[in-house]
């Protein structure tokens, strides 16, 4: 039995500071002083707290505010019984700073790799039926904005069958919206905007653009993007605030550029096997690239932020895929093309929508 004198003590019940002595027992100690709960207490219930200027401070598990401070120093005889200081957090304290750092780094690398790569091999294994259910629920009848002029949808379906015979079939519609664009929504729902049809000079051009969107569907890019987005949000959740958000947007854009290139490759292959000339699609990108040239120097910086590869390089890719000696035929005939171009114009019921959202 050893007595240690010169401690101060808070019992966690009132703010009074008690002067106490500590007397060791079998596997613990008791406190001796006026009006204090003498114990006994177990060494193993002690927790190291931050130092007071007077000396090291210990708390007691499950007793909020209970403190003892060795104001006259810790005798060597009981030093081994006392818990060590808590510094970085339990895992790091146990492993040591450098060992923990290396281990954390390895775990982070594996985790980051999983987040980046998992969507690539997980997405193709998600049943298309699930994606289709979700997509159809989202798209519905597109708010009645799909055009249905006589013969138009039939011509469009014929065009699609030429370039894609995959199962399950994609669902392509023209929406009465002025934007020059097309989108692949979840579940193989592809929407062409009226603006694109108006801009198009030939059905082959539409075939190229549609081939690109169908490429997104067949390569499961939509699900992939969703999974990647969710994964990155978790991964970068550690960095609070806006920094994580910007980094997330940059990484996501870089991956979506990869998907765009893959979709272009798909379109080129499909055009080739259907014997449709890639010239018109190339011409379409040439027109787009003329618009980008107006932006001048800014185009280079655009490479960082735009999700599509710059039009010029896309034009080159399509142009180069043309094979000498192949007999190309238009994807649909002149009558079908006329019906398709006027699919919205010939449908008086469909409302035009150039609202804020499109």
């Amino acid at each position: 039995m050893i007595d240690v004198s010169g401690l101060w003590h808070y019992d966690g019940r009132t703010a009074i500071r008690h002067k106490v002595d500590l007397r060791t027992g079998d596997d613990g100690f008791s406190l001796i002083g006026d009006n204090v709960d003498m114990g006994p207490y177990r060494w193993s219930d002690l927790v190291r707290r931050d130092n007071s200027p007077d000396g090291p401070v210990y708390g007691l598990k499950e007793r909020a505010g209970w403190r003892i401070c060795f104001a006259s120093g810790v005798p060597d005889a009981i030093r081994d019984q006392l818990p060590g200081p808590a510094r970085y957090g339990r895992w790091v304290d146990q492993l040591g700073f450098w060992r923990a750092s290396v281990m954390f780094l390895a775990v982070s690398a594996v985790f980051a790799l999983a987040v980046f790569k998992a969507p690539d091999w997980l997405a193709p294994n998600i049943p298309f039926a699930w994606e289709k259910q979700m997509g159809d629920a989202m798209v519905g009848d597109f708010g009645g904005r799909f055009c249905n002029g006589p013969g138009g949808q039939a011509a469009l379906d014929a065009l699609v069958r030429k370039i894609d015979r995959g199962k399950p079939a994609v669902r392509v519609h023209v929406a009465n919206i002025g934007m020059v664009n097309a989108v692949a929504l979840p579940g193989g729902n592809i929407v062409l905007f009226r603006g694109l049809l108006q801009e198009a000079k030939s059905p082959d051009e539409i075939a190229g653009v549609l081939g690109h969107e169908i490429g997104h569907v067949r390569k499961r890019h939509v699900v992939q993007a969703l999974m990647r987005q969710a994964g990155l949000s978790v991964l970068l959740g550690g960095f609070g605030g806006n920094g994580g958000g910007y980094l997330n947007a940059m990484l996501a854009a870089s991956y979506s550029r990869e998907a765009e290139s893959a979709a272009d490759d798909y379109a080129i292959r499909q055009l080739k096997s259907a014997r449709i000339s890639p010239d018109d699609t190339a011409a379409f990108f040439a027109r787009m690239s003329a618009q980008e040239a107006k932006l001048g120097e800014a185009a280079a910086a655009l490479g960082y932020v735009s999700s599509h590869p710059l039009s010029q390089s896309r034009e080159r890719a399509f142009r180069q895929s043309k094979q000498a000696g192949t007999a190309y035929a238009p994807v649909i005939d002149a009558n079908q093309w006329a019906a398709l171009s006027d699919i919205c114009h010939n449908d008086p019921k469909v409302p035009a929508d150039d609202s804020l959202f499109f």
């Binding site: 808070y10 019992d11 966690g12 019940r13 009132t14 703010a15 009074i16 500071r17 931050d50 130092n51 007071s52 200027p53 909020a64 505010g65 209970w66 403190r67 510094r87 970085y88 957090g89 790091v92 700073f97 923990a100 750092s101 954390f104 780094l105 982070s108 985790f111 980046f116 979700m134 989202m138 519905g140 708010g143 009645g144 904005r145 929504l185 969710a230 978790v234 991964l235 970068l236 959740g237 550690g238 960095f239 609070g240 920094g243 980094l247 990484l251 870089s254 550029r257 990869e258 185009a299 280079a300 910086a301 655009l302 490479g303 960082y304 590869p309 710059l310 609202s355 804020l356 959202f357």
Partner: protein, 397 residues
């Protein structure tokens, strides 16, 4: 014991940034290798240091919060806030695709209101958590109120505060502060807060009117310049007007806003009491200005350094070929990320240190404390930390 005598203030801070630096550097290192997740433990280490260097009368404060609590709070927020938001985004998209833009708009509006509610809840629970983890003489603070009611108050008072062109903002800020603090306690005693907002209106109107006055003066100068004839007179007048308007927006307005906030803070702390203790905050606008300029200076300095390092490494220059940019390697992105993250991570800690030092240096208390009747708080101890506050990026004291 009696406190607040002439020669000795009740609060003092004897921290040292050189002691803090190793804590901040190791925090940064561990945060990087854990993709940022260590920051919950890092913040805890930082607070333990700041609290342990803060003395009130005869003993220092003690921070008893843990990194795990903050982390759990963060996970909770992800689960109850961000997962539903992620899913709702599909509902919003579906509404837009199906042409129900009005419904989508209503959805966004209600989300906006929910965000207000959650922000209020976060402020309340953040304060409650911090008090419950602050010990002095073995006694802690807290609140019996979980803050759900305060979330509603925050929503409607903030909205009403913006009525009448924002003239009621001092009222909403004042009333929310006192509502919050009147629910807080330390030991067995409730905090009492009874601030007046009328006295704040003069400074608020000054900062409110500054741009208007500048605009009127600017227009007057242009008109006078044009009237005095000659295009050169008009040009000079126009230039002067532009300088005046920009100056008032970027220099005068922030200073006026600061002056208002200083008065607000002084009134809030000055009307706060705990049992027989009365608090007082002595900082004037000049002191706050020095604090703010110092903080801004720190950020500028460190960013300049980071940029210099980045340009030496060659990552700050853009390659000529745009195609090379179309697929920036992950390594480049990571370096850019680190160049932003390292300075932000480091400076943040020093800025919080300066703010805390400033706060304690100017905080005073007077009155009597009876240690025997300062008994342990019976308020519930929140099991997780200030996850909401953290997620919504709201700090401050």
């Amino acid at each position: 014991m009696g406190i607040g005598t002439q020669d000795e203030t009740a609060f003092s801070f004897d921290g040292d940034w050189q002691e803090l630096a190793p804590i901040l550097f190791t925090n940064l290192m561990l945060s990087i290798v854990t993709l940022g997740f260590y920051r919950f433990w890092g913040i805890t280490r930082e607070r333990r240091y700041l609290w342990s260097k803060t003395r009130f009368i005869d003993d220092r404060l003690e921070w008893t919060g843990t990194g795990k609590e903050l982390f759990l709070g963060f996970l909770l927020v992800i689960a109850i806030l961000f997962v539903p938001l992620f899913l709702l985004q599909f509902v919003a998209q579906a509404l837009i695709l199906r042409g129900h833009t009005a419904f989508a708009g209503m959805l966004f509006l209600s989300l906006y209101l929910v965000f207000f509610y959650v922000a209020g809840l976060a402020i309340f629970r953040g304060l409650r958590y911090r008090l419950s983890r602050t010990h002095w003489h073995g006694i802690r603070g807290g609140s019996d109120d979980p803050g759900f009611g305060y979330g509603w108050s925050y929503t409607w008072k903030t909205i009403v505060g913006s009525f009448v062109l924002g003239l009621l903002i001092p009222w909403s800020m004042t009333s929310l502060w006192s509502e919050r603090w009147n629910r807080m306690s330390f030991g067995p005693h409730n905090f009492e807060s009874s601030p007046e907002w009328g006295g704040l209106m003069r400074r608020f109107l000054l900062c409110y009117l500054a741009p208007v006055v500048a605009l009127i003066v600017a227009i007057a100068i242009v008109v006078a310049g044009a009237a005095s004839g000659g295009s050169s007179g008009g040009m000079a007048g126009g230039a002067l007007a532009v300088v005046l308007v920009l100056g008032s927006i970027y220099i005068v307005l922030p200073i006026m806003a600061l002056a208002y906030y200083v008065a607000f803070f002084r009134e809030m702390i000055g009307t706060l009491s705990l049992s027989t203790l009365n608090f007082h905050f002595s900082a004037r606008t000049k002191d706050w200005l020095v604090l703010m300029l110092g903080n801004i200076g720190l950020y500028v300095l460190v960013f300049a350094l980071a940029l210099a390092v980045a340009s030496m490494l060659g990552v700050a220059t853009l390659p000529k070929d745009p195609q090379a940019l179309a697929h920036p390697p992950i390594a480049t992105l990571a370096i850019i990320g680190l160049i932003v993250a390292i300075p932000l991570g480091l400076v943040g800690g020093f800025v919080r240190y300066r703010n805390w030092h400033f706060f304690i240096r100017h905080l005073e208390a007077g009155g009597e404390i009876d240690l025997a009747s300062l008994t342990q708080s019976s308020t519930p101890e929140p099991r997780q930390g200030e996850g909401l506050l953290d997620a919504l990026d709201m700090g401050g004291f």
